[in-house]
């Protein structure tokens, strides 16, 4: 009640300040008719226009972004225009490309001799083993078969690359099933006509998920990226767990029962036991409380640190090419420990590294044996200055409390399944807009992308490369001169308040 009141006051203020500059109101368009979006635009006093008119802010679907940046139909965006996707976001958000980029990133790191690419005696990456073993189908079929034969009792999950919300997903545990699928898809004229052959990824199924109350769940966490170079990303504190409605069983007899295995609301909604009051959604703060209470604070913090690590590494995998890293590493001799220290609070560093070591269970050399695309000095992600993106990260935690990155969504659902969901998503959009359009003003794509801490709302800085590098240099200088933060630090601080740490802690 109290909080709502404060919010209302803020809204009124925003409106008043905007009232004076009627002519400079932001003109918005969206092709996603969701109230959480429209209410946020209207609250800021922005004007709705059509796509063909002159617009400043376009919240668009992934289909539309393709047209905006396509060679044929695309057009030049002006400095006062902003969109909610990066041109080639699919490098991260398509299941197959994400895997490809992460594999490439690991190879690059390895070639550089980066300590991040360190492997254990079994050939598993110590710090970069965070996606389940995955192959492209049909391209990597032979590699898959080789891997499958090593552990014939394992279960695998098949997902079409370009589909969302659990569509087209199925589980297999016999090679004959994949052979049958392969035959069927080859003969299917529909698939052949539309896309030659529909691409699938096949991943080792995490058959030991962490269960709470006997049920399986995954995490939906939101990450905002305002720029890839330098990488600046923010993590939303109010994520949630999505629970299956049916008790989990690894039994192979239930492989066809998607209510047991898939946590997607789009699937679970149709189950008999779907509850419309809470929608099977449990806040991340509940999860943290439960884990801290039953497993202890230390392992819980470690888990969340690893989740943050996964997010940053997945973004780095598409942000930069290997060559940039080599340059940086040469310039800053303390690069690796510095990055690790920035990504993990000091006290937890050793724990994190130890856990990463002990928890790497799955065999990943199959992943690394997949042919990686030729190295180029071109970064993967087109860091267009008109763009920002709010990703929906899907993460599954296994019963050893190791988090696994399942996929990244470019257009996380803005549909509200419950009252709390509506509040969460409204706030998500509100906080996102507060960062990318400071003060609700007309966007300027040359903005400094350094929002003040008080403008972050429920976001917290996940990683700020710019700040991390400057801190590295500072630390470097300090360690070289052997003095504590002395005159240099003071001089820096003199220009304004000392910037907050570049990481989430």
């Amino acid at each position: 009640m109290f909080i709502t009141r404060v919010r209302v006051c803020v809204h009124v203020c925003v409106r008043e300040t905007l009232g004076g500059t009627m002519a400079n109101k932001v003109k918005w368009v969206t092709d996603i008719e969701k109230s959480v979006l429209i209410n946020n635009f209207e609250k800021r006093g922005w004007t709705q226009v059509t796509e063909s008119e002159d617009w400043n802010f376009y919240w668009m679907s992934v289909q539309t972004i393709r047209n905006v940046f396509s060679v044929d139909t695309g057009y030049r965006l002006s400095d006062e225009q902003m969109v909610n996707h990066f041109p080639n976001h699919y490098e991260l958000t398509r299941k197959d490309l994400m895997i490809k980029n992460i594999k490439r990133y690991r190879k690059d790191m390895e070639k550089e001799g980066s300590p991040l690419a360190e492997k254990d005696e079994n050939g598993k990456y110590l710090y970069l083993d965070f996606v389940p073993v995955t192959f492209m189908l049909p391209a990597d079929y032979n590699l898959f078969v080789e891997e499958f034969r090593k552990s014939p009792s394992s279960t695998w999950i098949m997902k079409p690359c370009g589909k969302a919300q659990g569509k087209g997903i199925f589980l297999i545990n016999k090679l004959s099933q994949i052979k049958k699928w392969s035959r069927d898809s080859r003969t299917s004229t529909f698939v052949a006509a539309s896309s030659g052959k529909e691409a699938y990824v096949i991943s080792l199924y995490i058959d030991n998920p962490l269960l709470i109350g006997g049920k399986k769940f995954d995490l939906r966490l939101y990450v905002l990226v305002t720029t890839y170079r330098p990488l600046k990303c923010y993590m939303y504190k109010l994520g949630f767990c999505r629970f299956c409605t049916v008790k989990y069983t690894p039994s192979t007899s239930e492989l066809d029962n998607m209510f047991v295995h898939l946590t997607n609301v789009a699937i679970q909604r149709h189950g008999d036991d779907y509850n419309h009051v809470h929608g099977g959604k449990w806040t991340v703060s509940n999860l943290r409380l439960y884990l801290e209470s039953t497993r202890g604070k230390e392992v819980t913090s470690r888990l969340f640190d690893q989740i943050h690590w996964i997010m940053v590494q997945s973004l780095k995998a598409v942000a930069v090419s290997g060559h940039t890293h080599i340059r940086k590493q040469k310039r800053v001799p303390h690069f690796i420990p510095a990055v690790l220290q920035l990504l993990f609070p000091f006290s937890l560093l050793s724990h994190t590294l130890n856990t990463l070591t002990s928890l790497s269970r799955l065999n990943t050399h199959a992943l690394s044996s997949s042919p990686s695309p030729s190295l180029s000095s071109q970064p993967v992600m087109n860091n267009d200055k008109h763009c920002f993106e709010c990703y929906g990260y899907d993460i599954i935690i296994d019963d050893k409390l190791k988090p696994w990155l399942i996929e990244v969504n470019a257009s996380p659902s803005l549909t509200s399944s419950t009252a709390n969901d509506r509040i969460l998503k409204y706030n998500l959009i509100n906080d996102t807009l507060n960062i990318v359009t400071p003060n609700g003003d007309i966007p300027d794509c040359r903005w400094n992308r350094s929002p003040p801490r008080e403008a972050l709302g429920n976001y917290q800085v996940l990683y700020d490369e710019e700040q991390a590098l400057s801190e590295n240099v500072e630390r470097d200088l300090r360690s070289r001169s052997g003095q504590s933060l002395g005159s240099k630090g003071m001089a820096k601080g003199g220009t304004g308040p000392r910037p907050a740490a570049a990481t989430w802690k």
């Binding site: 009640m1 709470i212 006997g214 009051v277 449990w282 409380l289 039953t294 230390e298």
Partner: protein
């Protein structure tokens, strides 16, 4: 103790609450066959007796000699005030009435043995009783799931009526309108504590003492030095753990500390006890199971915090209803466990058994006493033993009308009284205003207190509150918080003009931080 045996001569009044008229012939024949194979009054008698309970349920009630009399019955020793006892009886009557009407409506017996097929089915479904699938564990019974959900609900919140009607016949209420008189609904001259007394009692909560729930982020433990918590857990000192809990338990150690305070072990015999209860559930179906099932479905299953633990709740509550060890708490509880008799033997104590076996009939919201504990214990047997201990130490008092609970032990009456006194002393204007518009504060606060705030606060805050219940071995803090919530929202409450709008102002407590509220209310307010 399985059977409560009273002196038959003291048994002057016994009224039959309900007779089950629609007993099928099948039940009869089943009954008779079991009757003849009865082992005579052995300890295992209970389960064999269960099928007979369907015949009728009676409640024994006595009007008896004075407490000082050597022949005074146990209830008198437990609760010396006659009018209190009467209220207790009324209270129990309401619960029984609801149970009986359910029996009639559903046409099901109080208890019956499950056929072997059903037992097997339930064993398999033990971990997923909440799942409504075809062939679920009740399917072979006459009660389908719809009927379970349609069972008449018994809501405890209506029971503030019983308390409100409490009046001491000897108490002179002629000073009704004076400023010194009590404006609240509870008109019982029970002793309650004023603020200075409370400040003394709750010295560990004072502004200068470090509190978990307020000072969580300060690195140096402020105020008095606290024992290193892990050390505490290792040395297994229950009293020290209790003292520690007064300032709040760290999340990661709460489960162990609570178990230590409650002396709840998880030894092999505890696990075995739990397994025996589980077997009891599988062998026999009780009518109260319907109440449990319905309560979980209506409360925890719809709760944002607790829905994931639905199946744990069934397991714990079904076992709880069959746990005769719970009966021991009736020795210090003024309540009387309901009894049922074999037909034709009404009032004959040898044929009486407590129903349900633990003597506690669950009411609407009962599962919320268990739900928060699911955040701490993911092992059912451990969860069970902690819950049972919490119930027999604290929660039973919330459904008990009893004058004894004054200082260290608080029953619902004294909580209500304490709440009203605190509010009246602290915020007389607010109290007067709410009273004038017909929004008696207790009408709103009663539901919070009767559940010890479970389901109203966010779980992290609730656990911090319960830390203090355990730490001070008293529910009194619940009344303090209820008053503090009113104080916190006083400004908004002064503006409302009806009960509905007052309820709206206090509808959402999930954003409240309990320790700052309690601390400010107790220590930072000028009195």
């Amino acid at each position: 103790m399985l059977l409560i045996v009273e002196d038959p001569t003291a048994f002057t009044g016994c009224f039959v609450i309900h007779l089950f008229e629609e007993i099928s012939l099948l039940t009869f024949s089943f009954l008779f066959s079991s009757l003849f194979s009865l082992p005579s009054l052995s300890l295992s008698l209970f389960h064999s007796l269960l099928p007979f309970l369907s015949l009728l349920l009676t409640l024994s009630l006595s009007s008896q000699p004075l407490p000082s009399h050597p022949a005074a019955p146990p209830e008198h020793a437990k609760e010396p005030l006659a009018y209190m006892r009467k209220a207790q009886v009324n209270w129990e009557k309401r619960i029984l009435k609801s149970l009986n009407s359910m029996c009639t409506e559903l046409g099901v017996p109080l208890a019956r043995k499950r056929p072997a097929v059903e037992q097997k089915e339930l064993t398999n479904k033990w971990n997923e009783m909440g799942t409504d699938e075809p062939g679920k564990w009740t399917s072979s019974q006459s009660i389908c799931s719809d009927r379970r959900l349609n069972t008449p609900s018994y809501s405890i919140s209506h029971d503030s009526q019983v308390l409100i009607s409490l009046r001491n016949p000897n108490h002179d209420s002629s000073e009704e309108a004076s400023a010194k008189s009590h404006w609240g609904l509870i008109q019982v001259p029970l002793h309650d504590r004023d603020i200075p007394q409370m400040r003394e009692a709750y010295s560990e909560l004072s502004l200068t003492t470090g509190q978990l729930g307020i000072d969580d982020h300060t690195h140096v433990p402020p105020g008095k030095t606290r024992l290193i918590c892990t050390e505490l857990a290792f040395c297994q000192d229950s009293a020290a753990a209790q003292q520690y809990s007064r300032q709040g338990c760290p999340t990661g150690l709460r489960a162990d500390l609570w178990a230590l305070i409650l002396n709840s072990t998880n030894e092999p015999e505890d696990v075995m006890h739990y397994e025996q209860l589980k077997a009891g559930v599988i062998h026999h179906d009780l009518l109260v199971d319907n109440l449990i099932y319905k309560d979980v479905k209506l409360t925890a299953s719809n709760d944002d915090y607790y829905f994931v633990f639905e199946d744990f709740l069934y397991q714990v509550l079904l076992c709880f209803s069959r746990d005769t060890a719970v009966l021991e708490h009736f020795s210090y509880n003024s309540a009387t466990p309901p009894k049922s008799y074999i037909q034709g033997k009404v009032g004959v104590e040898e044929f009486a058994v407590v129903y349900p076996p633990n003597g506690v009939i669950p009411f609407h919201g009962f599962s919320m006493y268990v739900a928060p504990l699911c955040f701490l214990y993911n092992e059912p047997s451990k969860l069970y033993s902690v819950f049972r201990e919490m119930y027999v130490r604290y929660f039973f008092r919330l459904v008990c009308v009893c004058s004894k609970c004054v200082y260290t032990v608080c029953g619902i009456v004294s909580l209500c009284l304490q709440f009203e006194r605190l509010l009246q002393t602290h915020l007389p204007q607010l109290f007067y205003h709410l009273r004038e518009i017909g929004a008696q504060p207790l009408r709103i606060a009663f539901k919070w207190m009767v559940r010890a705030f479970s389901g109203y606060l966010s779980t992290d805050q609730l656990l911090l509150l319960w830390d203090r219940i355990l730490g001070y071995d008293s529910l009194e803090i619940v009344a303090v918080l209820a008053a503090a919530v009113f104080a916190f929202r006083a400004e908004n409450l002064m503006e409302v003009t009806s009960l509905t709008s007052a309820e709206a102002v206090l509808a959402d407590l999930s954003t409240l931080k309990v320790m700052p509220l309690i601390q400010i209310f107790l220590f930072a307010t000028v009195i």
